[in-house]
Symmetry: C2
Subunit: 463 residues, 2 copies
């Protein structure tokens, strides 16, 4: 956006956000919901599920005054631009005044919504309904300890794989063709979706039967674009598996970020980064990328699974990723509960980062300024990435238990079984069940760290 | 858009268009306008200008029922996709049923709005308020005859310039840098605008102080991207010259397409395709594009001004461009006035095209199916392209009469004078005056074909 455009853009966004909030929280909407509640729908019906979820969302939204919503939106519009500049210059103090405002407005928001134990619970609820800070703390503490015990062995094993093993020449057109083939193989429907290039990969559904994925390309590296596509296609399969004719209603909508992320991680990591994947795809990949012919499937699998602690979350490996999240979660809770001042964020970040990942942060741009989330007012969002990882491992475990032929199917490049199991247990459910109940119904228990830890231990060895 | 997305997209568009129409035509809006009219604003004031224009737009809009607006929008959403396929296959019959629906709905629209002489007047009024079919017919008849008399000499002269004179290697990064330099030189403000790549060049203002231009690149040809940028920057200068704090009101909005196009054509053709332009820019261009060193400014000027009748309007030269428009205008009027059946459009098109441009159309994709406008329901839009050309020539004439140093300035690459004259006479006026009155106030007379004809005659010689 050109710099002169910011003031008006901030007003546009604040107005739109305010309108959307005012319309949804209008008295008429409440009356309509009450009427539905009195209509006596069968509690197991689609209608009842929609009404339950509308009621929950309405009750939450009506607690927040429109002016607060508008103010936060206007503040974040300015904060995002300040964050860009702060990150560029690696100067936290350029972002701090904006962060202070956001934090203060976010706390007001939490107070309006209300909470039992922690104001952070009220924020979490927006991204992952039903999850609390104390429950997360327990799960994350277990996870942190388990990861710490696996990490040294994983790093040691990875050190035997050269970091540049996969460097080569991978023309963009070949990457696009191969990615498309892979996305089609796992079930992404191109008659109601597309893949296009952008700076940051994303998945966005802009209407019924219109799901857009994006990725980015580097001619020396096919791994980045391929795994972005598998990740985003995982999100896309969820969006495409939602009941399309219910678009816009709870039944036609994804239930939470932690469930959404489980779908992307499952395809990206559990399917895509497995030995089985490369056993099947190696010959095809060699057709598209002749540079791969000199490598065996095992070498490729080892290379794409290298574990090396690094500064940037979005570039980190499967093993260290959740340690990045644990850090952000702890910082966020302390900020929101008032135990940490924004001025102290860089020093606390750097200290904890070293404890968790063994690296000394020397630039805030590679530390607490690396992510845009706080500038966008998204506090309580980060934990959902890890919940996604935990859910993915748990879903894979259940799926494997239910289907003894799963491993064989994956080695043969057959993804129908995975796809239809997920469609049945997760996708077509929409927001019929809240995340914990959905996981319970799909796997027999709510989200636990156990399956992810076991998966990583098996994959990377160690304690 | 993926094919499966069309039905929902059509409903989204119809709903949005309907909402926008219903909101603007609400009784409350009429009451607010009446209140303003009774407030006794000085007729020369900004407020009075806004109220006059709101009244005009309101009275026009309230004549059209929302359901008709929605129906047309839904129909065109489907028609655009059908047109894409019809053009691809060069089969008019795939588009015909959609075109029939559009034409019927458009005629209903014209009947609702009302007109004195021709239903086409009611349609024109949406793009060029105040213009009528009979006035256009008179202007276009003069223009057609004059162009026919100049064309042979222009073609003959051009045949001496090799068509591939400018072929070379022009790296995209160099084109981007040169285009930016040129856009800055003519006054495009990058602090409130950007240039990005797209398939089809456009200019769009998405908020106050946020004007986006696009272009497309071809490494063997810098001409396409440069002249698209000059064209779109001409639109952009108009948008940037409107009172930004009045964004969204008539005073802060461009008045018509014919005035808008005059701004793009003036910079693209009168400034950009002049000998003076290349006299000044030649050394700089050679720095960016070493392949140009072997050519003189005169050779470049001759090459970018080659006149050759061709099938595609958007690729046609300055001399034949308006003949394409004359054809479309005649076909449209006959369709809307009921003298021509859609089934006969291809044959009439091909016959008239040969008369006007001397070329036999063998594929509808290069004939009546080439443009998207009819599929988008834009009937009455084409003439504004030619009005833009006529207005541009007339404005240049007035500007030159008022400033004897103009030619000298242009040879020195000084565009301040042109820019500030246009800003004063056109840009900052917004929609204070309707097009004819605006041209009267800027040039002393309403739009005439005379200045464009004289300009072309001087430039290309002939009768």
């Amino acid at each position: 956006m050109p710099p002169g455009a910011l003031p008006y853009r901030a007003e546009q966004l604040a107005w739109l956000r305010g309108q959307s909030h005012r319309r949804f929280t209008a008295r008429t909407v409440g009356e309509l919901i009450s009427d539905c509640e009195q209509a006596g729908f069968d509690p197991a019906s689609d209608e009842a599920a929609n009404v339950r979820e509308w009621r929950r969302q309405y009750d939450r939204a009506t607690k927040v005054p429109p002016r607060l919503v508008e103010k936060l939106e206007r503040t974040t519009a300015h904060a995002r631009e300040a964050w860009r500049e702060a990150r560029k210059q690696s100067k936290f103090r350029l972002f701090k005044p904006h962060f202070d405002k956001i934090l203060s407005l976010t706390r007001q928001m939490a107070d309006c919504i209300g909470y039992k134990e922690s104001p952070y619970d009220a924020l979490l609820d927006d991204y992952e309904p039903g999850v609390t800070a104390s429950a997360l703390r327990e799960t994350f503490t277990e996870l942190r300890a388990a990861l710490a015990s696996i990490l040294p062995a994983a790093v040691e094993r990875s050190s035997r794989v050269p970091g540049d093993l996969l460097r080569g020449h991978y023309p963009i057109a070949a990457q696009q063709a191969f990615n498309r083939k892979a996305a089609e193989a796992i079930g992404f429907d191109f008659s109601s979706g597309r893949i296009d290039p952008t700076t940051h990969p994303f998945c966005s559904r802009i209407g019924a039967r219109d799901c857009r994925l994006t990725t980015r390309y580097d001619e020396t590296d096919f791994v980045g674009s391929l795994y972005s596509v598998l990740h985003e296609a995982g999100h896309g399969l969820y969006e495409q598996g939602l009941p399309q004719d219910e678009f816009g209603t709870p039944l036609g909508s994804a239930v939470s970020l932690g469930i959404h992320e489980s779908q992307s991680r499952l395809w990206e990591n559990h399917i895509g980064r497995s030995a089985a994947f490369w056993e099947y795809w190696h010959p095809t990949a060699c057709e598209f990328f002749p540079d791969l012919k000199k490598l065996s499937p095992e070498q490729i699998t080892a290379a794409i699974n290298r574990v090396t602690p690094s500064f940037i979350r979005t570039e980190s490996d499967q093993m260290t990723y959740d340690l990045h999240i644990v850090l952000r979660f702890e910082v966020e809770v302390d900020l929101v509960e008032g135990r940490l001042a924004t001025a102290d964020v860089p020093s606390v970040w750097n200290q904890e980062f070293e404890k968790l990942l063994g690296l000394k942060v020397t630039k805030d741009s590679e530390g607490c300024l690396q992510d845009i989330h706080w500038a966008g007012g998204m506090i309580g969002y980060f934990p959902t990435y890890t919940l996604g990882n935990l859910n993915a491992a748990q879903l894979m475990h259940s799926m494997a238990s239910a289907n003894p032929a799963l491993d064989q199917e994956l080695r043969a490049g057959v993804y129908k079984g995975v796809h239809s199991w997920l469609r049945d247990k997760i996708h077509r459910q929409g927001s019929r069940l809240l995340p914990a109940a959905l996981m319970q119904s799909a796997t027999g228990e709510p989200t636990r760290s156990h399956y992810q830890v076991e998966y990583l231990r098996k994959k990377f060895g160690g304690g």
